[in-house]
């Protein structure tokens, strides 16, 4: 599972994330929503080991991402929002690089690579330089690289940007499959319909603080009449005219 305890990231005077307490269980997809600049990407990057928190703790299946980063990263599959890759490697070379970095068994890695290339419809491009890939193809390649070592936790930032509907469907199915296998998936997205469709629970972050957590239905009942769409709930909770403290009255505290 993925958990954060009083996680805080301060950029000079700006607190990008403030005392964030989050808990993503094994076998759960957790949708992480929030307006631009709310602190979603910062949180995900701390858990992925890309940036260090100012204070607080983040653990992945018990491994502290700061104190025990290598063990934590070994079991995380991290997928960033923008697929910056090594342009001068081919897709296959890049995946071989990833397999070696994760110290995977050559034969198994090769089989898994072949399977994932096929699944993501990249087989024809595996021996082409990455610089010739489209944005969507790079995004798919990043996903393949994150899944290659069969992670126990997946941290994913905006997974559907640049993907065609077919690939989007595929990714949703893959996440569901990983959930079934007991993987903890933390997914940040602006596509509220997707969050509503695949996330078991949803957390809304605003100005660096988690202001609501629950299933889509729970959030609807807490904030509105229960008939609204998730979009309405999101807009109500993240209204620029409300400070997070004032929202405490409107929603029950996150658990």
């Amino acid at each position: 599972m993925i958990e954060t305890i009083n996680l805080t990231k301060q950029y000079f005077k700006l607190a990008a994330v403030k005392d964030l307490n989050l808990n993503v269980r094994a076998g759960e997809i957790f949708g992480f929503l929030g307006p631009n600049g709310a602190g979603k990407t910062t949180t995900l990057r701390i858990i992925g080991g890309l940036i260090q928190p100012t204070r607080g703790t983040a653990r992945v299946f018990g491994h502290d991402v700061v104190k025990d980063p290598v063990a934590a990263r070994q079991i995380i599959g991290f997928i960033p929002d923008r697929p910056f890759l090594y342009q001068k490697l081919t897709g296959e070379e890049f995946l071989r690089f990833i397999a070696q970095i994760w110290n995977l068994d050559d034969r198994k890695a090769k089989m898994e690579m072949d399977r994932l290339f096929e699944v993501f419809d990249l087989s024809d491009w595996r021996n082409e330089l990455i610089e010739s890939y489209s944005h969507g193809m790079k995004q798919k390649l990043v996903m393949v690289s994150a899944l290659l070592h069969e992670p126990k936790a997946i941290v994913i930032d905006e997974p559907f940007v640049g993907l065609d509907p077919r690939a989007t469907r595929l990714v949703k199915d893959i996440f569901s499959e990983y959930r079934r296998k007991g993987c903890a998936i933390l997914l940040s997205t602006h596509t509220l319909s997707v969050a509503e469709e695949i996330a078991d629970r949803i957390g809304i972050i605003h100005l660096g603080s988690l202001i609501a957590v629950g299933t889509a239905d729970e959030l609807k009942k807490r904030v509105g009449s229960g008939d609204e769409k998730l979009e309405e709930i999101f807009l109500k909770l993240t209204s620029p005219f409300k400070e997070p403290e004032k929202l405490d009255a409107a929603v029950s505290h996150p658990t």
């Binding site: 890759l85 690089f97 970095i101 994760w102 110290n103």
Partner: protein
């Protein structure tokens, strides 16, 4: 054309914001670069004043030589500017990120052409203007020219620059319609490098030091004298020369105005012509430059098998980084093409040792040979430091925006740094030892000096590569793609200063025992055991310094890399 100034604003704002932005080390960097620029400027001015005064002292052919030199300067500028303008125009018209927006806004094609042309011209010509200025100034000073000259030559230069500028843009417009933009830029950069290497080698192998020999100089003077500057020609460099010359002594007169008029009319006609070409060809070329071409199938090559063999003893993660670094190097034209430059550098380096007239030094040959060999340690160290600045220092920065891959992987910063160190240490060891052993062989130095140089250089290579990698990890510049630019930053300056000091101290530490050794040899008095023990202090200190220079920066680099913010 109302949109012309609007289209130039983003470039202006970017420039203004760059100059306003103060990052850690900006002041030091600005100071260091400013001092360097002033030194180069002052040196150019001083050298040209000296040469021109010397020419003035030669009867009859002196003024002719000064004129010839001026025309050659214009010719060299013309050649450099054409290549520079083509390469810059490829970026400003076809490859720049902002073009996606600029080509989509409802701007008049002419406004777009002229705004991009202005940017391209300024970007490609400012350096020639900057470093050419002291040359033209020196002509004025030596000839005690009136004020009109100082107003006249910038005008001549401005119209002169217009011609290679427009030729560059027109050639680019034509080339991009034939070849993909990115490939064209790579080929041109590579060609420019080859031309530079050819000129560099040719210049050195012609042995310009012979100019100091009066007998050889006679023939060169007569060679120069054979060339007169034609008064009428179709070459812009001749027009520029003929426009400048009369102004050196007063009012430019008919010939001066006619030459300026030729430059102006041709320049403006070329501007008109390139705008016309732009209207007809730009859209098609831009569209072509946007098409993602399949890069061709990459099968296993002999290099893959060599890499498998070489990296066999290492762990898979180290192997992975090793292979990635090597493949990157050989697939990036800006990287592998540097090998040609390196080969030229080594050739000239060793050739210099072959060409040294040892017998003319006025000292015993044995002494001179070994003295030069000792100083060669510092020189080879400097060459190695400069090469490490270009190839080792940028290694971490070159991860670029893909650095997240390493950061989110189970690799520790220690593994990453040591793997990168492993990639570079062996080729640089081979190179530095080649320089030292071959130059010593050419100098025919003593066995003691041979061993001392080879061993010192061996340790120093570890120190220098460690420094470059360590400091490069402390000051990464992930947003830059060009390795030369990465090394030109604050961290690069810090690295160069430390490595210069390091080389200096190591050589200084060894100077004393080496001096005593040669003096005892010269006087025929053997060195006592006590003296050897005393000398060993210097050698041990030098060795300790090497170990510190090697390990400390790497350690600091690892710590810094663990915490550095992502690009």
């Amino acid at each position: 054309m109302r949109q012309y100034p609007i289209l130039l604003k983003p470039a202006y704002y970017s420039f203004r914001n760059r100059t306003r932005r103060v990052e850690p080390g900006t002041k030091l960097r600005t100071l260091a670069l400013g001092l360097l620029a002033i030194s180069v400027w002052a040196f150019t001015f001083y050298a040209f004043v000296k040469v021109l005064r010397y020419f003035q002292g030669i009867e009859f052919i002196g003024p002719l030589l000064a004129t010839k030199l001026l025309s050659m300067i214009f010719l060299v500028f013309f050649g450099i500017l054409i290549i520079s303008n083509i390469i810059t125009a490829l970026s400003t018209y076809y490859l720049a990120d902002e073009l996606e927006i600029l080509n989509q806004v409802p701007a008049e094609p002419s406004a777009l052409f002229f705004s991009r042309f202005t940017e391209s011209l300024l970007e490609s010509s400012w350096m020639v203007l900057f470093f050419g200025f002291p040359i033209f100034l020196s002509y004025g000073v030596v000839n005690a020219s009136p004020l009109i000259y100082y107003l006249w030559f910038p005008l001549v230069l401005a119209f002169f620059l217009l011609i290679p500028g427009t030729i560059g843009v027109s050639v680019t417009l034509l080339l991009v319609n034939l070849f993909p933009a990115r490939r064209t830029r790579e080929i041109l950069l590579f060609l420019a490098l080859l031309i530079f290497i050819a000129i560099y080698l040719m210049f050195r192998l012609l042995r310009p030091e012979r100019l100091a020999d009066p007998e050889a100089f006679q023939s060169i003077v007569s060679y120069f004298a054979a060339f007169q500057i034609p008064t009428s020609s179709y070459h812009p460099y001749i027009w520029a020369t003929n426009a400048i010359l009369p102004a050196l002594n007063g009012w430019p007169g008919g010939n001066g105005f006619l030459s300026l008029a030729l430059l102006m009319s041709t320049g403006l006609a070329f501007v008109f012509l390139s705008n016309w070409l732009h209207q007809g060809m730009y859209r098609r070329g831009f569209s072509r430059s946007q098409e993602a071409k399949r890069s061709g199938y990459f099968r296993r090559t002999p290099l893959d098998y060599v890499l498998v063999l070489v990296t066999f003893p290492f762990s898979p993660p180290t192997r992975a980084i090793f292979v990635k670094e090597v493949k990157f190097f050989f697939r990036d034209t800006t990287q592998w093409s540097q090998l040609f430059l390196l080969a030229a550098l080594v050739t000239v380096y060793l050739y210099n040792f072959k060409a040294i007239p040892l017998s003319r030094a006025g000292m015993p040959t044995f002494f001179v040979q070994n003295l030069i060999s000792f100083l060669n340690l510092a020189l080879a160290g400097f060459v190695l430091a400069a090469l490490s600045a270009r190839f080792v220092f940028p290694m971490v920065s070159m991860e670029g925006r893909a650095f997240w891959i390493i950061r989110s992987s189970p690799l520790s910063a220690r593994q990453v740094i040591w793997a990168k160190f492993g990639v570079m240490i062996f080729p640089l060891l081979i190179l530095s030892e080649t320089l030292i052993i071959f130059s010593n062989h050419l100098l025919q130095v003593s066995r003691f000096m041979n061993y001392l140089s080879a061993i010192t250089m061996f340790f120093m290579t570890f120190g220098i590569v460690g420094l470059a990698l360590g400091v490069g990890s402390m000051y990464p510049r992930f947003h830059l793609e060009n390795p030369a630019k990465i090394a030109a930053g604050y961290g690069g300056v810090v690295y160069m200063l430390i490595s210069m000091a390091f080389i200096g101290v190591v050589v200084a530490l060894e100077a004393r025992p080496v001096y005593f050794y040669f003096m005892s040899y010269f006087r025929g008095i053997p060195i006592t055991t006590e003296e050897w023990i005393g000398f060993s202090f210097y050698f041990v200190t030098a060795a300790a310094l090497n170990v510190i220079a090697f390990l400390l920066p790497i350690r600091m680099g690892i710590k810094s890399l663990e915490k550095i913010p992502l690009p």
